[in-house]
Amino acid sequence: MSIRTFHTLFTRSIRCHHQVRCPPTSSVLSVSSRNYAKKAAAQEEDAGAPLGPFYPKPAPLTLNRVDPPPDTLPDWKEQKTLMASIAEEARLRHDFDNRSELFRKGSPDEVEPGSVLLIEQIASRSRPRKQVFAGVLIAIRRKGIATNIVVRNYVLGTGVEMEFYVYSPMVTRIKVLKRITGIAQGGDDIYWLKDRPHASPLAFSKIDEMVIRDREAEKRRAAGAASA
């Protein structure tokens, strides 16, 4: 567009030739910080009671010995055995709702990349407001206690990938909305899905209604538990 039209569109003067609707001066050009703060305060009131400090499950007096994986080099000074034992014990102590069964290779509840997951996390323990993200699982990175997953979804038209550390205390709930197998073919990631979203068996647009259905089911369950 020409400089003249650009100027006329954004001018507040009445002398412009085009019938330009001038935007009001008060609330859009200078953002009202008071409104924003009120909205933020209202959001945080429904955060819930602050959670206390996070402690993993107490450590048993003896460290259970775990043999290192069989294809590693010989263990000259018991370093690999010690670290494998520490990692295994840390995993057991940070796992409160048995979510390691979802990501352990060979478990009956194993989730494959391609499935749709819903993840609830909190930003801080003093104001535990739940943030929900749902999407297609595109990668599982198995690193012991630092195991993390990558979940992909489209937010307002933009592709978004989020990484979650599975044993983090800030990740409160991991739920499988739809279990899909056969996409990854034995692998741990399906990064090609970023370039070919149409190749996923479930359309990304359907994920929002699955989240809504899950939220209603949770409400009904909570109401049923309260009444019973």
Binding site: R34, G52, F54, P56, A59, L63, S124, R125, S126, P169
Partner: protein, 373 residues
């Protein structure tokens, strides 16, 4: 002239060296002196006395009796400046009954002994606020104090700590083995010395464990970095190199220019160039201890440390934090001079001790909110 009687060295009186010198210098022994003045006395005297004579200045400074039977012996080298003040006595550790005298930690005055640890690996930990940290696991194995001494050249007490019992005693050289035998310690694979203040001098044989440290304190970790061999300037110093295309010939990873022209007409010493990288002693300072495993003697330290797995590391209380009096969360609970164990018969009930600073701290994930009217 009858040959002198051969006597063993330890029974010789201390004035034997000076009497020998005077004997050799006297005119009656002119036929025994060497012809050329550049040769030392040792060429003629071994046959007379049956033992090796050292250089006169060394022989006069320490007698053999002093060298082997003094706790604070310090070798005096000829030509080196000697410290005029006398060695300070360490503070008395135990009273008449043998009980430990309680001591307090004072910033600026106290310097505790350090320990030797092995780097075991890294692990992920979440603290009480839910923050994630990469922590290094350090293990303290068989740490014992070998001996303490006064270092006159430095002017302070030194405590020698040994780590990891040696598995093959037949591989040890005799001097090293005798060093441990003299102090009554099982031979160790690694020994190092720590500078301490007089109230932290430890007895030989004292065991050092992970309980020497307090969770929440800061430590310095010294170790040798992983050796990377001869490396180019791009890896060693982070140089950018030259482009891969657009005509650059055979110089994609080279240094480029090494200086100016006729003036100064040389390359300055210290110019960053290709060379050997790594394998140097480095200190990581002010690393926070997140957790202590009391039964396995493990210390979980936030951050990374130099060296490969199973490398020996020297740990000590962080000196920069000591300057600003922030090294320990609570000075009252610092084990002084070291952790000697609880009451007799007390069994460890808890395996891990954590920092425990949730109560007074502020949530790092919460932003300060403006008050709404």
């Amino acid at each position: 002239m009858p040959p002198p009687t051969l006597r063993p060295p330890s029974s010789l009186p201390s004035h034997s060296a000076t009497s020998l010198l005077s004997f050799l210098r006297s005119s009656s022994s002119a036929h025994l002196r060497p012809r050329s003045s550049s040769r030392t006395f040792s060429t003629t005297t071994p046959s007379l006395l049956g033992r090796r004579i050292q250089h006169p200045s060394v022989a006069a400074a320490i007698s053999e009796k002093e060298r082997f039977h003094t706790l604070y012996a310090d070798k005096v080298r000829p030509g080196w400046p000697t410290i005029t003040k006398s060695p300070a006595a360490p503070a008395i550790l135990r009273d008449e009954e043998g009980k430990l005298i309680p001591r307090k930690y004072e910033y600026g005055k106290t310097r505790r002994c350090g320990t030797v640890a092995l780097k075991r690996g890294m692990v992920m930990l979440w603290d009480e606020w839910g923050r994630m940290y990469g922590c290094t696991v350090l293990q303290i194995i068989d740490n014992e104090v070998v001996k303490s001494r006064w270092n006159g050249g430095v002017g302070s007490h030194m405590v020698e700590v040994g780590a990891v019992n040696h598995p093959n005693l037949h591989r040890l050289k005799t001097d090293r083995l005798n060093h441990f035998r003299r102090w009554g310690i099982t031979p160790k694979r690694y020994t190092t010395e720590f500078k301490v203040s007089p109230d932290c001098v430890l007895e030989p044989g004292t065991r050092l464990t992970a309980r020497h440290y307090v969770p929440g304190q800061y430590i310095d970790v010294q170790g040798y970095t992983i050796g990377r061999g001869f490396q180019g300037a791009m890896k060693r110093w982070g140089f950018k190199g030259q482009p891969a295309t657009h005509g650059h010939s055979k110089s994609h990873r080279s240094l480029g220019s090494t200086g100016n022209s006729t003036t100064p007409g040389r390359t300055f010493p210290g110019k960053k160039m290709h060379g050997r990288m790594g394998g140097r002693k480095r200190t990581m300072q002010c690393l926070r201890i997140m957790k202590i495993d009391v039964i396995n003697n493990l210390i979980y330290v936030r951050g990374n440390v130099p060296g490969f797995d199973d490398a020996f590391l020297r740990l000590r209380d962080a000196i920069r934090k000591e300057w600003y009096k922030k090294c320990f969360p609570d000075t009252e609970k610092v084990p002084m001079p070291t952790w000697y164990g609880g009451e007799i018969g007390e069994v460890e009930t808890v395996r891990e001790i954590v920092t425990g600073e949730f109560e007074g701290g502020r949530d790092p994930f919460s932003r300060p909110r403006r008050e709404i009217e």
